[in-house]
Amino acid sequence: MKNKRKSIFISITQFVLLAAILVPAVTLLLWIFTERWTWPDLAPQVFSKRAIFEIAGRKKELLQILWSSILISTVVAVLSAVIGIMTARAILLYRFPGKQVVYFFTILPFMVPATVFAMGIQITFIKMGLNNRITGVIIAHLICSLPYAIRLIMDGTAAVGSRLEEQARVLGASPFKAFYKTSLPMLMPVILSAVSMSYIVSFSQYFLTLMIGGGNVKTFTILMVPYLQSGNRNIACIYSTLFLGVTLLVFGVFEWAAGRFMKHGGGEFYTSE
C-alpha cells in the first residue's frame, strides 16, 4: 500500500517536470504558424505560412549562418574532447610537480564568467589579429567549454584507470595503440558527453561571439537576438525550431560516430538498472 503511494508520488513529480519542459516547446511550434492572435483569446485566430515563406526567401543567408554555426561548434567540441583527454591523462596518470596548480587553472574558467573574460581579452585578440575571425571565435569558445569537457573526462579516466592499457603495453603495443585499443573505447560514453556539452556551450554563446566575432562571424545566437529585441516572434520561433532540430541531428551524428567506436554500443551515460 505504502509502496503504491510512493510510486504515484514519483510519477506525479516526473509528470510535472516533463510538462514544464515540454509545454514551452509547444508554444514554439504554435507561434510558427500564428498570423494573428489578439488579446484575450486563448488560441490564435488566424494561422498562415507567411513567416515560413519569408524565411524560405532568405535561404542563402540562412544556410550560410547554419553552416558557420555548426562548423564553429563542432570544431570547438572535437578540440575540447581531444585537449580534455590529453589534460586529464597528464593530470591523472603522470607524476609531475605543480599538478594541483595545473588542475586549479583548468577549472578556473568555471569561476570567471564569459562576459568578464570577453571584455578582458578583446584587446589581446585584436592585437593578435584574431578578432572578427572564425579562428578567434573558436579559440575563445574553446577556453569556455574546456572545463566542462575536462571535468567529465577526468571522472571517466579515473574510473577506467590505466591497467588495461599497461597490459597492452606489456604485450608489446605502442603507447598510442594501447590507448586507442583499450582506454578509448571504454572512455567513449564520457567523451560523447564531453563533446555534446562543449558543442552546447559553444552553440549557446552570445556575448563572447559578439565581442570576438565583432558582427563578422554570424552564429545562431547573433541572428536571434535582434528578432527577440524587436519582438518578431514568428521569425524567432522558426529559427529556434530549425536550429534546435539541427542540433539534435548533429548529436545523432556524434552518437552514431561514438557507437562505431564502442564494443557494446548504446551511448547512455546514465540508465537506471
Binding site: I21, L28, M111, P113, M119, T124
Partner: protein, 289 residues
C-alpha cells in the same frame, strides 16, 4: 626520461589556452585599477571601485545581479537534487524520460528567453488563461513577470535551464551511491528518506555544491537573459559593464572593468568558501576516526 616529458607534451595545448585566459583576466583586472597605457592612464588606483560602489545606481545593479544569481541557483539546486532523489529512489526512470529532462541543457539561453516571453508576458498564455478564468479583466492587471525590477522572468528562465543541468550533473553519482551504500543502509532497516538524508545526500555534497557554484557564477555573469528579459532599471551587472565598455568616452572603460572586478570578486569569494568547506569536511572525517 621520455616519461618525464610526457605530461608536459600532453599539457601543451591546455597551457597555451590557460595563458590566453589569464591574459584576458589580468588585462581586465589591471584596467579596473585604471591602468590603460594606450589611453594615457598609467597610475594604478582604487578610485574606480570606490566610485562604482558609492554610486547608488551601480550599487542597485550589484544587488540586483546578486539576488537573481542567488535565487536562481539555490532554487535550481534544491529542485534538481530533489528530483534526483525521487528518481533514484524510484528506480524506474526510463531512458526516454531522462532524454527529455536533458532537453533544456541543449536549448540556448536565447531560446529560453523566447519561451518565457511566450508564456509569462502580459500577452502570453498565462495572462490569457487568467482572463479566461475571470481572474483579471484587463491586460494591465496581469502582474509584470518579465521586464520587472525583481528579475522574476530571468529567474524562471534560469530555473528552466539549470534544474536539468543539476540533475545531469548529480544523478549518475547519486544513482551509484544509492545503489551501493544506500542499499546497505536499507538492509540495515533505514527508511527511504533517512537513507537519502543521512547517506546519499552527504556523500553527493561536494558534487552538488560544485554544480551550484557553476550555475551561480554563470547567472551572475551572464549577459543574454538580463538583456532580453530584464528591466531597464536596474540593469544587471554584465549589461551595465558592457554599456560602460562600449561608451564613446574611452576613459569610461575602467568603470566597466571595475564592475567586472566585482563579479570576479564575488565568484572567487564563493569558490574560496567552497574550498574551505571541503577542507573542513575532510577534517571532520579524520577527527571521527
Amino acid at each position: 626520461m621520455k616519461d618525464k616529458l610526457m605530461p608536459y607534451v600532453l599539457l601543451a595545448p591546455q597551457i597555451l589556452l590557460t595563458l590566453l585566459f589569464m591574459i584576458g583576466l589580468v588585462t581586465g583586472i589591471t584596467q579596473s585599477l585604471g591602468v590603460i597605457p594606450a589611453f594615457g592612464l598609467k597610475k594604478p588606483t582604487l578610485l574606480y571601485y570606490k566610485e562604482v560602489l558609492s554610486r547608488p545606481d551601480m550599487m542597485r545593479s550589484v544587488l540586483y545581479s546578486l539576488r537573481i544569481a542567488l535565487f536562481s541557483s539555490v532554487l535550481a539546486t534544491a529542485g534538481g537534487v530533489f528530483f534526483c532523489g525521487v528518481c533514484v529512489m524510484g528506480k524506474k526512470t526510463q531512458v526516454a524520460v531522462m532524454r527529455i529532462i536533458q532537453l533544456p541543457i541543449i536549448v540556448p539561453h536565447v531560446v529560453t528567453a523566447l519561451f518565457i516571453i511566450n508564456i509569462f508576458s502580459r500577452n502570453g498564455i498565462l495572462a490569457r488563461a487568467a482572463y479566461a478564468l475571470g481572474m483579471i479583466q484587463e491586460q494591465q492587471q496581469f502582474p509584470m513577470l518579465i521586464y520587472d525590477p525583481h528579475g522574476i522572468g530571468i529567474i524562471m528562465a534560469y530555473l528552466w535551464k539549470e534544474i536539468p543541468f543539476i540533475i545531469y550533473f548529480v544523478i549518475a553519482l547519486m544513482a551509484n551511491i544509492n545503489g551501493s551504500l544506500g542499499e546497505a543502509a536499507t538492509n540495515l532497516g533505514a527508511k527511504t528518506w533517512t537513507v537519502f538524508w543521512r547517506v546519499t545526500l552527504p556523500l553527493c555534497r561536494n558534487t552538488i555544491i560544485s554544480g551550484f557554484l557553476i550555475i551561480f557564477v554563470f547567472a551572475l555573469g551572464a549577459y543574454e537573459l538580463p538583456l532580453l528579459l530584464g528591466a531597464t532599471v536596474p540593469k544587471a551587472l554584465p549589461v551595465l559593464a558592457y554599456q560602460e565598455y562600449i561608451h564613446p568616452d574611452l576613459r569610461n572603460r575602467p568603470y566597466a572593468m571595475a564592475l567586472n572586478g566585482i563579479i570576479i570578486a564575488i565568484s572567487l569569494i564563493s569558490s574560496l568558501l567552497y574550498f574551505l568547506m571541503m577542507r573542513k569536511s575532510v577534517k571532520c572525517l579524520t577527527e571521527e576516526q
